[in-house]
Symmetry: C2
Subunit: 435 residues, 2 copies
């Protein structure tokens, strides 16, 4: 029967004729031009079609860090199960090659072209055939367990662990779920399509069978009005005060790791903290608008700092009202997380909302409802040159004082050293293993 099947093209070959940004290959067989169906009319891809966006894979830095944020993500952490250093290297080589293909709109590996492959599992699940590259980026990171695991130096890397890759302390209020915390290897896939992001992690984690096992995976999304700062599920604009990715000097100062003596291989990389923050939306939605604004330190609809008119007006922490009280409350999120409150530290937040349905929950604050609630909130993702001056002191202050803690609970946590980008022919993390 296999000979009745049309020739199998590449993923890009499935793109509709008329796709502009990526040329359809010669393998686009006539039999593959699907007719219209009830689900929608054929329409040509617009020039700025987010499906057709392509991000580079190889380069000085990995993608997905200063890349303008795509609409969806799937992040995952795996635990290494092998004892062999060569297995880890082989996995990173294979991941690099597959990621380079996937980000450019390809399948994880070439699909078989003849009957010979039919009795094997295909090297790609095929579920995004016909979808464009969708601006896919894939970012790899290394958790503490790559360097030391239960006191053992499994791969001869313990001496190369960067001092900046600290084990995160326990923060006030943490309610971490073990199955959503930690991990030896990190994969972050971001794309302008939910299935394309998940597809990438799915192919890569499958390639790890026997070498590493899934620890946790998490889907996320960002619904930003185009050209505006997106609102998170609390209804406030999120990311206004990020350091500008358009300013390389700021990125070098706050985001990219330098050439430290203990970890020269991290130069051009970054340190990434991931926190799964559950938000009691039911509680929040019944909170007075004024109080919500006090919690954030910003006006909800405009995004302006309290007392200001416009979103990008400067945050003035010294301003007082006529009674001498601070206009931006002492324990507001904006004040506590502001650079001025943190010895000048900044981190690059690149977070996504998450929405995993519902489950039974016991609220931690009045009115302490016990009921079925949304398991929804924020996949907080922050990049920085050194978490010891970035996330850790900032979050320590927030965890203790932030009024927002009445509505948020950190239930997952992880930290990773994200190495620099790879050169073609090399692989992600080569500097760690080869020099």
């Amino acid at each position: 029967m296999a000979n009745d099947r049309p020739p199998r093209p590449s993923r890009r070959g499935f793109l509709k004729a008329g796709g502009a940004a990526v040329a359809a290959g010669a393998s686009l067989g006539a039999g593959l031009a699907a007719p219209q169906n009830a689900l929608g009319k054929t329409q040509p891809h617009a020039a700025a079609d987010p499906q057709m966006a392509v991000e580079p894979f190889y380069g000085a830095h990995q993608g997905g860090i200063v890349t303008p944020q795509q609409s969806h993500t799937y992040v995952a952490a795996l635990d290494l199960t092998t004892e062999k250093r060569d297995d880890v290297i082989a996995l990173l080589r294979a991941w690099t090659e597959a990621a380079a293909r996937l980000t450019q709109g390809g399948t994880a590996a070439p699909l078989p072209t003849g009957d010979a492959g039919d009795n094997k599992a295909a090297p790609d699940s095929g579920d995004v055939l016909g979808l464009g590259p969708c601006g896919l980026t894939i970012t790899f990171g290394f958790g503490p367990g790559l360097f030391t695991h239960e006191g053992k130096d499994r791969y001869g890397l313990a001496a190369r662990r960067p001092a900046a890759l600290v084990d995160l302390p326990r923060f006030n209020g943490d309610q971490l779920i073990k199955e959503k915390t930690g991990g030896d290897l990190f994969i972050q896939a971001c794309a302008n399509d939910q299935q394309v992001a998940f597809h990438a992690v799915r192919q890569l984690s499958r390639m790890a069978y026997g070498t590493a096992a899934m620890r946790w995976g998490q889907s996320g999304f960002l619904s930003g009005p185009r050209g505006q700062t997106p609102r998170n599920l609390m209804g406030f604009k999120d990311g206004t005060n990020n350091p500008s990715t358009a300013k390389p000097q700021l990125m070098n100062q706050f985001v990219w790791a330098g050439a430290s003596a203990d970890a020269p291989w991290m130069e051009g990389g970054t340190y990434t903290v991931v926190r799964r923050i559950r938000i009691t939306l039911e509680h929040w939605d019944n909170t007075e608008l004024d109080f919500q604004e006090q919690v954030f330190g910003r006006h909800k609809y405009s995004g302006a700092p309290i007392g200001k008119k416009n979103e990008f007006d400067a945050v003035d922490l010294k301003e007082e009202d006529k009674d001498g009280n601070p206009v931006i409350p002492e324990n507001s999120h904006v004040r506590l997380s502001n650079q001025a409150s943190n010895n000048g530290a900044q981190i690059l937040r690149r977070s996504y909302s998450y929405n995993d349905g519902t489950n039974f929950y016991i609220e931690r604050w009045p009115p302490w409802r016990q009921e079925t609630e949304y398991d929804a909130g924020l996949i907080f993702i922050a990049h920085q040159g050194d978490p010891r001056t970035g996330f850790i002191p900032i979050n320590d202050r927030l965890a203790k004082f932030d009024m927002m803690n009445q509505f948020t609970t950190h239930v997952g946590s992880a930290i990773f050293a994200v190495p620099p980008g790879a050169k073609p022919g090399s692989y992600i993390g080569a500097g760690l293993f080869e020099t």
Copy 2:
């Protein structure tokens, strides 16, 4: 401080200037035109912008049934906690009014325009301000518990329960999770944006506080290449053989409920079955391509029935190979679910994929892995005029014989009577309560 806040516009007022399909209201204050930021350049909405699509709310039928499928859904079921019939009617009236606003791009209720409202919780969470209507449809349904609850006729409706609203039988292989099964009231929100779909359910369920409580909620998505049949997470095209929504005669025959003697109020409505079907993607991905195709009865890449060239070639269940064996295997999904195998029955499938991260799982089939796996699969949604001739016999056969059962487990289930659409001034379900 409230007087420093710009005037609060409608949700549509937040749409960027340049939005074509929906006119920005006069309330779009100058202060709200956000400058460009690092997240993306301002770009005008294209004519066919899925953000700007608007679906009608009022009409003979509810939206979201034969509506061309949007890219995202959030479905939820609530349990009634009130004993009062008037509370139920008041909720349905409020839901109808809010749904009409939301689908047209509005907030659930008008936002307060002056300082008076600042000390109350706002009537809308505000998290989709600035996003367009996104083709939002909202569909309401009634579960068996509206009519009889633990043997009690709470609202005087028991005699009006349609015979077609049966309690679903236990099917072979069902592993239903109580917290993801059943429900007295159903809300399905579909939109071309994940946050817009969830936002709708979130506002509506909040309005039900004190009358009904969340039983389960579930996010879903569909990543179809434009103009082609989308592929589900198994990598096969899903929906090819659906009855055409473009043919009213087929919809009347298979989807819309007629004027039955026991439930005349259901005329123009439908019966909807929802099943949460977990798929062991890890197992499936390691399954030979030929076997995958035998399971479906279709070729994976083209979508054609086995032995045929093109997706929309007719399924010929009688065809035999040279050895006299059926070309489309006896226990393939396509054969078992085909109209010809089910006394001519058809159902309108309008399913979404779901992806809720990972959790520990024990596979039900060889190799019986016990490990952290994707909690992902299909939110199967099917509409039909009568489930006794539709979903029930079809799924009974599938549950017993479908080869696909090696990879799928039904973990959630619900059935609802979805009444016809409302007229302006009336409300969804008025026919049940008022006649």
